[in-house]
């Protein structure tokens, strides 16, 4: 069995300053290492803040782009892809092709690049 662990928190909670972040980072590296050692890690990423989000939907055959996360209250997370794209335009073009885009929303979140990780 594989499980996805989806990490939710308020952006106002947790480490806010660079110092606080530096203090917390070892915990993340430690947890990742523990998963690795146990042979249980199948991948994971940190996302950039929600202010960098873009949502793509397809309605009546046309792409609708929105700045920000934009799931309807009844919409629930049904899956995710991690893709490589040269810029947001390419990522949006892939998002538009996702089969659920005509009836759901595809939120695009850039992945954080962690130096040395």
């Amino acid at each position: 069995m594989k499980y996805a662990l989806l990490l939710y928190s308020s952006e106002a909670a947790g480490p806010q300053t660079e110092e606080e972040m530096a203090e917390e980072m070892p915990k993340w590296f430690g947890f990742t290492e523990e998963l690795n050692q146990a042979g249980k890690n199948h991948g994971g990423e940190a996302l950039l803040p929600v202010a960098t989000a873009t949502t793509v939907q397809v309605r009546d055959g046309s792409r609708i782009t929105t700045d920000g996360p934009f799931a309807e209250t009844k919409e629930v997370l049904g899956g995710f892809y991690i893709i490589e794209a040269s810029d947001l335009d390419e990522a949006m073009a892939w998002a538009e092709k996702v089969p659920s885009a005509p009836y759901g929303s595809v939120e695009i979140r850039p992945i954080m690049e962690i130096p040395g990780a």
Partner: protein
């Protein structure tokens, strides 16, 4: 011409080009903006004193700004990582379309500022800052918000551009078509912000009309083959031509029929008519072009009574084919009342009442028509209803004045 005047003109003509070239060469919006600003500050000092503006100010500005950008990058820790990318970019030079035509960097900059992944407010602010060259303070004043709030809005947008990798790269023709619509929308919105302000506000916000006229003209030069950009340019010019006659000394709106047509700006009307000619020549004429056609019918009518109302009604019919909204239908109904009489107008408004129940102008237009058919009691009721639809301060005073005139 004074030296200062001509520096202002150079700024007007060269700012967007300079920012655009720097964005193209360095791929960094913040750096481009800072270095363009720095180059103009140096130019101001140098040219303002004794030397005067050189023959080729653009070349001097570009060299100065590029040098500054390279200096800044050299001092940054990531310079070595970026060096290869910068060299590739700098060697690439001006971009070309698949067909080999040169693409103006300013078009790329405009499209980037109006990228659909940015919210509309951010698109407007970035366009005014990076393309029109307004300062954050000027933009904040024009939008009646704190400079600090506007500053944050702009930095958030830049952060998203950087972090989400929103590209400022040339787009192909197919993408250009729908991305152009966003640019047009932003320019129209900037114009409307300035145009719809009254009284003291108008003194400050009228600048937005000037910026929109300039931006629309720039876009028309950048994409001369597109009919709608000429349509937008024409529309903005023709409406702006009436700017000085739209409000009275108290800042209250003056109806089209009461405006002093001698005061309309003939130069803008001529420019607007030529732009409309280009829109029709390129074709097909879209929503902006048709609205420009409507504006041209007003602009060329010698008096309100001499307006070609039948042609205005038939133009509204064409507009409804591309933009069928209750507001367009309301405007058509008003035109119809002049072509065929007030009762025809009232009949055409009737089916719009549900959709536009909260709309000031539905009720004020109804009131005017009822007054014209002699039903002043009905007119008073409709004016009173329009006052319940949250009119602006100037609109409220205007409506009250109309009510008083009816003896209410």
């Amino acid at each position: 011409m004074t030296a200062n005047n001509s520096i202002d003109e150079v700024f007007r003509a060269e700012w967007s080009r300079l920012v655009a070239v720097l964005v193209r060469d360095f791929g960094d919006l913040e750096l481009a903006e800072d270095c363009a600003q720095d180059a103009f500050a140096q130019a101001n000092q140098k040219w303002g004193s004794s030397v005067g503006v050189p023959d080729k100010p653009a070349a001097w500005l570009t060299t100065t700004a590029r040098r500054k950008a390279l200096d800044t990058l050299r001092r940054s820790s990531t310079y070595k990582d970026k060096l290869a990318e910068i060299e590739v970019r700098a060697r690439r030079g001006p971009e070309r379309t698949a067909g080999g035509e040169l693409i103006d960097e300013r078009l790329t900059l405009l499209l980037g500022c109006c990228h659909p992944a940015l919210n509309l407010e951010a698109q407007v602010a970035l366009t005014l800052r990076l393309v029109a060259g307004l300062t954050t303070r000027q933009i904040a004043r024009a939008f009646l918000i704190e400079e600090d709030t506007m500053g944050k809005r702009i930095s958030r947008a830049k952060a998203k551009i950087r972090q989400a990798a929103i590209p400022f790269d040339p787009v192909d023709t197919e993408v250009l078509r729908y991305r152009l619509a966003a640019v047009q929308h932003v320019i129209y919105l900037i114009f409307n912000e300035g145009h719809s302000s009254h009284g003291d506000e108008a003194l400050v916000r009228g600048d937005l009309c000037d910026e929109a006229v300039w931006l629309a003209g720039l876009l028309a030069r950048l994409v001369p083959e597109d009919a709608e950009v000429h349509g937008l340019h024409s529309l903005i010019l023709l409406i702006d031509a009436r700017r000085s006659t739209r409000v009275d000394a108290e800042g209250l709106p003056i109806l089209l029929e009461d405006q002093d047509r001698c005061e309309w700006d003939r130069v803008k009307i001529e420019e607007g008519l030529s732009a409309l000619g280009r829109a029709i020549e390129k074709g097909p004429v879209g929503g902006f072009g048709l609205q420009a056609l409507l504006a041209s019918l007003h602009a060329t009518a010698r008096t309100f009574a001499a307006t070609d109302w039948a042609r205005i009604v038939s133009t509204y019919d064409l507009l409804l084919e591309v933009d069928d909204t209750p507001v367009v239908r309301l405007n058509r109904a008003i035109a119809l009342s002049y072509a065929e009489g007030p009762q025809a107008g009232l009949d055409a408004i009737e089916p719009l009442k549900d959709d536009l129940d909260g709309y000031v102008y539905l009720h004020s237009a109804t009131a005017e028509l009822l007054h014209r058919v002699g039903d002043d009691l009905g007119a008073i009721a409709s004016f009173e209803r329009s006052l319940e639809c949250a009119p602006s301060e100037a609109e409220r005073k205007f409506l009250e004045r109309r009510l008083n005139a009816l003896g209410a």
